[in-house]
Symmetry: C2
Amino acid sequence: MNKKGIIAIISGFSGVGKGTIVKELVNRYGYVVSISATTRKPREGEVDGKSYFFKTQEEFEQMIKKDELMEYAQYVDHYYGTPKKYVMEQLEQGNDVLLEIEMQGALKIKEKFPEVSLIFITPPSVEELKNRLINRGTETMEVIEKRVKRAAQECVYMQEYNYIVENDSLEVCIEQIHALLQSIHFENKNQKNLIENIRKDFDQYR
Amino acid sequence: MNKKGIIAIISGFSGVGKGTIVKELVNRYGYVVSISATTRKPREGEVDGKSYFFKTQEEFEQMIKKDELMEYAQYVDHYYGTPKKYVMEQLEQGNDVLLEIEMQGALKIKEKFPEVSLIFITPPSVEELKNRLINRGTETMEVIEKRVKRAAQECVYMQEYNYIVENDSLEVCIEQIHALLQSIHFENKNQKNLIENIRKDFDQYR
């Protein structure tokens, strides 16, 4: 029997490095990242079914109505959401699926799909988070202060996560999260088939 | 600040190989195994405070009374139990502690100490468990049948465990459990200090 994949959401404060971590997990170990659906127009170079599933507003609202999304939200006149179908297909094929989603969306998914594991990536300190945002050199101090303020608000969600991993050294953090994802396979909720098979196997001895 | 160790109970059916696995985890990676207290007399070569903490019946009953044991049970006129003090000292020193305990004892400990992680090691099949017991060559078929029958009873406890790991190849299983124990450090319940520190750190930005 094909072993089913696991599904994990990776969240963290803006600037913590989660984008890089997810990209490396995909490149090095073949994890699959879920593809979002959106009603915004494709940008230069974006491919339908790869960058996003591009949908008309009508199509997207049909997906909502038919409960085909794990979660969705509206930003600046456009819908963004996570289609169930793609994720479920990948899981059935035995692939482990990563979702990079912000905290409120993550908690909404966890409520509906308790089999999901929530992983939170945190910087070692707020000081360090600020330094990383400054060193990027892409934002003004005003924007950076705004991001840190937002992180201060978001940090209450941290305690709802199943696993908290510190990103001190990027290299160490990538390997730790890879090991963690492998270990999540052993969680009781992901071993229901094995438990059931062993129980049945023992029936003749009872 | 010194990082506190984690505490994990390793259980499994008789013959699954958990003794070897725990021994290898200690030898290769320096995990600490909890030392039991007992009222039975030391056997040749057994050292007090290393093999067991040897106690008189009176001393043991005092330990029960003073709630100094994580769990205890009586077998064939003798008490056996897990002293809290040794485990807690090791955790404080930052050592990860393994307890090799049978299932009912494990569940009793989990109830009292929810921070404990329960790991269950299972054979790939009942057939395989029987083969291993036969290949040991130390027991009669009658004893082996009894052990399998007992495992058939015990297997209802399996679903109460946090993690279920299959011991198909011993070498793979040792490495998987080592990775799992490392990942357990990232569990929310073991990251309370980090969560608290980050929250405090953000206070100035709220």
